[in-house]
């Protein structure tokens, strides 16, 4: 019965392949063809000879890259920003979720959620603009620093302030939005547990510690591992906007380096080498994170 109703032969199936075609074509063109460009990492690209006929250089580009101090600087900067996000931004999101979850007044909860989600939808350029209005040389903060303390700080053009500012921007933009997934997990905790705890005389702090947190442990672990898996990625848009020649020592991350070398100096081969190192390292980290999740008895990311 069922079989007769489902398209099985090609003359019944072609509409589905036709529907899939534009999408598949898109993925092949803009995701798979670029992967073939990685071959240039092993060549010395010459625009006159083209991709295929440029001479092979084997691992020279990689040797050159790992041999420079740039490599260690990029690795350090990239990982430090990820690490700071992990130990400041991430717990703050959990903290905010717990707070919102404890609000008993529905209207207040909805209003405050609406407010804290908003910055997520703004572009990084807008965030950058707001940052300049506040932290720029003639921004409001420097104005008051000058008025009250007789001094000012070069927030945007100094090494010390780059990381704090970037982390603060991430929190301001995305911490609210990040609570959604935790709130969903929190909504899944059985309310009977809280009632039982209350009967046993637990305070609200105690029930947060013994019921709420263990209840979202799985979500925390998965998200933590996902973030670890993406530690080679910095938020490129954000960094790209916040960087300048005076904070390059701390702001230069892999993606930014690739941009400068590739699209400003037109050294395609070397830029692709760096990009490929990043892609492969990311792949290993993601697969490792997934494996770790499974070891911990969680479902894993995929």
């Amino acid at each position: 019965m069922q079989r007769a109703l489902r398209p099985k032969r090609f003359h019944q199936l072609w509409p589905f392949y036709l529907l899939a075609a534009p999408g598949i074509l898109y993925f092949l063109t803009f995701h798979y063809i670029p992967m073939t460009g990685l071959i240039l990492a092993f060549k010395e690209y010459s625009p006159f000879k083209g991709m295929m006929d440029s001479p092979w250089v084997g691992l020279d580009n990689f040797r050159q890259f790992f041999g420079t101090s740039d490599f260690y600087m990029l690795l350090k900067n990239t990982l430090l920003i990820s690490l700071l996000n992990l130990i400041i931004y991430f717990p703050f999101t959990i903290f905010l979720s717990l707070l919102l979850n404890e609000v008993r007044l529905k209207v207040f909860k909805r209003v405050s959620q609406t407010i804290v989600y908003l910055p997520h939808f703004l572009s990084w350029v807008v965030i950058y603009g707001i940052t300049i209005s506040f932290f720029g040389p003639s921004g409001v903060i420097n104005h008051y620093l000058g008025q009250w303390f007789d001094g000012n700080a070069n927030f945007l053009v100094s090494n010390e302030w780059f990381r704090p500012l970037v982390i603060f921007q991430s929190i301001w933009k995305d911490a609210g939005w990040g609570t959604i997934i935790f709130l969903a997990a929190l909504a899944g905790i059985n309310p009977e547990q809280y009632e039982a705890a209350k009967v046993d005389g637990a305070s609200r702090l105690q029930s947060i510690w013994h019921i709420t947190l263990p209840g979202i442990k799985g979500t925390i672990v998965i998200l933590l591992l996902l973030r670890l898996g993406s530690s080679m990625d910095s938020n490129f848009m954000q960094i790209f906007l916040m960087t300048n020649s005076l904070n390059l020592d701390v702001s230069n991350v892999f993606d930014l380096f690739v941009y400068h070398v590739g699209l400003e100096q037109f050294n395609y081969s070397f830029a692709i080498t760096v990009g490929m190192f990043k892609s492969v390292a990311s792949l290993i980290l993601v697969l490792g994170a997934n494996y770790a999740a499974r070891l911990l008895g969680e479902e894993g990311i995929f």
Binding site: L5, R6, P7, K8, L13, P15, F16, L19, A20, P22, G23, I24, F27, F30, H31, Y32, M35, T36, G37, L38, M51, L99, E102, V103, R104, L105, S112, V116, Y117, L118, F121, L122, S123, V125, G129, I132, S133, S138, V140, H143, Q147, L156, V157, W172, G176, W177, I180, I181, A184, L205, M237, N244, S245, G262, L263, Y268, G275, K278, L283, L287
Partner: protein, 289 residues
């Protein structure tokens, strides 16, 4: 049920109020500066309530050709991108939602792999360049037409629709395109609305691909222009001096902040609709099969 507020509730409400305030204050400040004469904000003699009101910044921006052109470009890119992304994502996700389709697994694998591995910035650039898309709106629109994540979310929505619907329609002699158009799509309004908003925000906020693919600055959407307008005030940042001279000459803090506001205005306008849908969409994305 009557709620009795304890000290615990009070502390929580206070902390959340402080955090919300921290989110709102920058907006109020930006608005205030944009409505003040430049001298006032530089002297810093107000914070969120302008001392003197003026619409100068807005009337200036709405008469500046460069700015208006960038808004026009943004509207075109957003419209093109949204329509194209919806088309590509819905058709592919629909086909992949059919469990009987031979080759479905391999297509899913091909798409899924792009989530964990990609060629990177330069190979992408070379592809766009070799396709001859530099300086065309398509360079911004096409490479961002879809993503594995979008496909997965939309597909799982289609899979949640009852299969018996299609089968009934097939018995009645409806063709597959007709089933998609007259039965599936009307039932999918929530997910289509979610992704329409999602794509609109994405393309309106698009910045970097415009910077690298559009050398012709008259094609620039609003985000890269805004970046140059605000970067000029952060001295030492050598904005690659391209904003046209007349615009640069008049860049007071009021004009800069008015531009920031205008660049986020469409987002703030769709936000009330967006927020409800997106919260659902984000959770949908987190639910696995």
């Amino acid at each position: 049920m009557k709620l009795k507020a304890t000290w615990f509730d009070t502390i929580i409400v206070v902390i959340i109020c402080l955090i919300s305030l921290l989110v709102i204050l920058p907006f109020l400040y930006i608005i205030a500066v944009s409505f003040s004469p430049p001298g006032d904000s530089m002297a810093g003699n107000f914070f969120i309530w302008p001392k003197h009101w003026t619409l100068d910044a807005y009337s200036y921006l709405l008469n500046a050709n460069t700015f208006l052109t960038s808004v026009k470009n943004s509207v075109i890119i957003t419209a093109m991108g949204t329509v194209l992304s919806l088309f590509v994502s819905i058709t592919l996700a629909y086909a992949l939602s059919k469990k009987f389709l031979p080759g479905r697994r391999i297509m899913l694998l091909v798409i899924f792999f792009t989530m964990i591995f990609h060629g990177g910035m330069i190979p992408n650039y070379l592809v766009v360049k070799n396709l001859g898309l530099i300086d065309s709106y398509w360079a911004v629109v096409l490479p961002a037409a879809s993503s594995a994540f979008n496909i997965m979310v939309i597909r799982s929505f289609f899979q949640s629709l009852p299969e018996s619907l299609d089968e009934a329609a097939r018995i009645d002699g409806a063709g597959e395109f007709r089933i998609l158009y007259s039965i599936v799509l009307p039932l999918s309004k929530p997910i289509i609305a979610t992704f329409t908003l999602f794509f609109m925000v994405q393309f309106w906020n698009e910045f970097f691909s415009a910077v690298i693919y559009l050398n012709d600055t008259t094609r620039w959407p609003i985000q890269p222009l805004l970046r140059q307008m605000v970067a000029i005030s952060a001295s030492n940042i050598s904005a690659e001096a391209a904003v046209d001279a007349s615009l640069a000459a008049n860049l007071g803090p009021n004009v800069q902040n008015a531009a920031i506001l205008l660049a986020m205005l469409p987002i703030v306008m769709v936000y009330p609709f967006l927020q409800k849908y997106f919260a659902k969409g984000a959770m949908l994305g987190s639910i696995k099969e």
